[in-house]
Symmetry: C2
Subunit: 406 residues, 2 copies
């Protein structure tokens, strides 16, 4: 192996995720995470080893690289794997190609054109329904027929590490008839996965479930921050708006669909039967372990949630088929969130709203303080990886600190 890869690294030889990084001496460019290092793809390109226009590797987003298509991006991944394993390869004896991750700044991996957020975990939708609607009829009538989704804000999606301020907005106090303006008192995270499309369609085109994987370049971790008190007052009838669009964070490394190939599993049985355009063949869920930790200022991290991407009721190919069945077009770099990923167990719920059950079951931090929602100074960190037969593939983390309202 050309470079040392620590055991249990998310960025094993089996992964080869793509991202955009910069260093003190060079502007943002494409790289691959390997162990604790980044392989500088723009520098590799200077060795004249790629047979495509490598200007795309010097851009500050991956969009143009991804747009080359899977025939090229898959080959880059496989070539890099071979070269890393071969001590006599083109990468040998060139330590300058490998930048320690500790010396790099990570940037948004893609320019996101449109951002769609689904609501595809049955456990999450059921929990929310129990809390806010009817415990006996927690799921709405359309939920098992439609991978329910809505449009989110693309501009305010930022990369892991950028601190954000607690949002302010309108909130309706209990028993009041008029709202007040204040900092959100119920700031929450939502544990999600996001996928990024790598191929565009025209207005009027649809994508069949059987073709959908060709359109999915890769996945990221997504923290879809939510101000529950703002959401409650604003969301009827047109859905969440300011409760969500102040910021969402994604992980800097995009893990390709190919890297998760060994971790395919079957999804839950869908009953009632879905309409034909949502039927699919094969295993379309993925066994990806997910964790959320909260680190209060000056304390250490407390893990509050263990979940798994395999719990999803609606899978990515169904989401994409549904999204485009009316002719809605998609672009390279568009982001699609899974919705909060909750499991059956109480410690697998993917938001504080569910974990602390609307504030009725506060969660104790390591410093003894309790949390119903997220406090100023808290850092929320999400991690995700798959592991089987000695193969580990992961995202690293998406992490961000909440600063007081401005």
């Amino acid at each position: 192996m050309i470079i040392n890869i620590p055991e249990n690294s998310d960025f094993s030889i089996h992964n080869i995720p793509f991202g955009i990084f910069s260093t003190v001496d060079r502007t943002p460019r494409a790289g691959i995470a390997i162990g604790d290092h980044i392989l500088d793809l723009a520098a590799v390109a200077e060795l004249d080893v790629f047979d495509f226009n490598t200007a795309v590797l010097e851009k500050d987003t991956l969009n143009d690289f991804i747009a080359l298509g899977k025939s090229i991006t898959k080959k880059v991944r496989v070539d890099i794997q071979h070269w890393l394993k071969d001590d006599d390869s083109v990468l040998a004896g060139k330590p300058e190609l490998f930048v320690p991750q500790s010396k790099a700044n990570m940037h948004m991996p893609v320019a996101i054109g449109d951002y769609t957020d689904f609501y595809s975990s049955i456990e999450h939708a059921t929990n929310v329904g129990k809390m806010f609607r009817d415990p006996e009829n927690a799921l709405l009538p359309n939920w098992k027929h439609i991978p329910v989704g809505y449009h989110g804000r693309a501009s305010s999606i930022v990369v892991s590490g950028e601190s954000i301020h607690r949002p302010k907005g309108q909130v309706l106090p209990k028993d009041a008839s008029s709202p007040v303006f204040q900092a959100s008192a119920r700031l929450d995270f939502e544990l999600e996965m996001g996928f990024i499309t790598g191929k565009s369609t025209e207005v009027g085109e649809s994508i069949a479930t059987n073709d959908a994987e060709d359109y999915i370049f890769g996945m990221v971790l997504l923290n879809d921050w939510s101000a529950r008190d703002i959401q409650k007052w604003e969301y009827v009838p047109l859905g969440p708006f300011l409760a969500k669009n102040f910021a969402s964070h994604i992980s800097p490394w995009v893990v390709t669909l190919e890297a998760f190939e060994p971790f395919r599993v079957s999804g839950p049985q869908q009953e009632p039967k879905v309409l034909p355009y949502l039927e699919y063949e094969g295993q379309k869920n993925y066994d990806i372990q997910l964790k959320v930790g909260i680190t209060p200022e000056g304390s250490d991290e407390k893990t509050v949630c263990h979940s798994n991407f395999k719990y999803m009721y609606w899978n990515m190919v169904q989401q994409l088929a549904h999204h485009t069945i009316n002719g809605c077009n998609i672009n390279v770099g568009d982001l699609y969130g899974s919705g909060t990923i909750s499991g059956k167990d109480e410690n697998s719920y993917g938001s504080m709203l569910e974990l602390a059950w609307m504030g009725t079951k506060p969660i104790k931090m390591n410093d003894g303080t309790e949390r119903k929602f997220i406090n100023d100074g808290d850092t929320v960190t999400m991690r995700g990886y798959s592991e089987k037969d000695g193969v580990r593939v992961g995202f690293g983390e998406v992490s961000a600190k909440i600063l007081p309202a401005k």
Copy 2:
């Protein structure tokens, strides 16, 4: 005057709207509509009369031009007005600078990063509430406190003239418990205005109502197509999605806020009093007459709606202040729809849903056929202009034909 401008032209010397056009001999570039012609700004730039980097005028969107800022874009507009009026100006004796509109193709004027749609007409919100909720309490409790809005799809916004196919999707038949998949049987238009921002903010920044006009470059006409049957089944709890994102049309010419300056009027009294961050000073509504016509295949156009932008309850500066109060950032080229613009009179309603009152009052076309919603082969055309003291400023039209479902 350098060029003949027909009387009653929307594109008078007082207007000077910006757009992107192409001709058989040259690729998309910036232009200004004047009478029946387009002044080719890229060609004007070759006369070396502008003191900014004119490469922005050769782009296929206006974004980089708009991003130069109002100090430059306002000056370009005023300079062009002077040159057009002065028979000895730099534009004199150069007919090649003026392209007949009939010989040009119009393109999307801007690359839209994010698209937000508001719901700011009190008459429209009341009509919808009466039909679908409680006639006695038609407005929801938050409506008079919040300029309610939601995120729409940016990718499927297309320019006037592009025909679109009727969307297909899930619909719940009357008295059924399971949905069916079919072409929408309730395809509707929504008469809206859209504004385009010309200045960006960072995540965490807010825009005060008093500053908001600095961020608004100009306005377009917007037809926010809606499939009412798909909408009804999908929209609870996260809002409209596939019912809207198959396509929206905008007019090709962006009329600057400055051009509408003579047409400012006061908006309706807002009662109850809005929260301080939504208070504003001065006249922030605009008297812009709006019309919608339907042209069945092989027939002539029937005007079905006369409305006015001055009816808006929430104005643009309030919309922008609300949108950013939580720190949501905006970009140059973002689009913000007003929501359907209805007035008090039955013939001023801005959608077929309201005009034909849920199908109970069909509207007769000139060929004797009736419409509850929009039929295949129908062309829907929206027009908008302001007129006072001999000054006329308008958009031309946004027009599109509905083709049968694919």
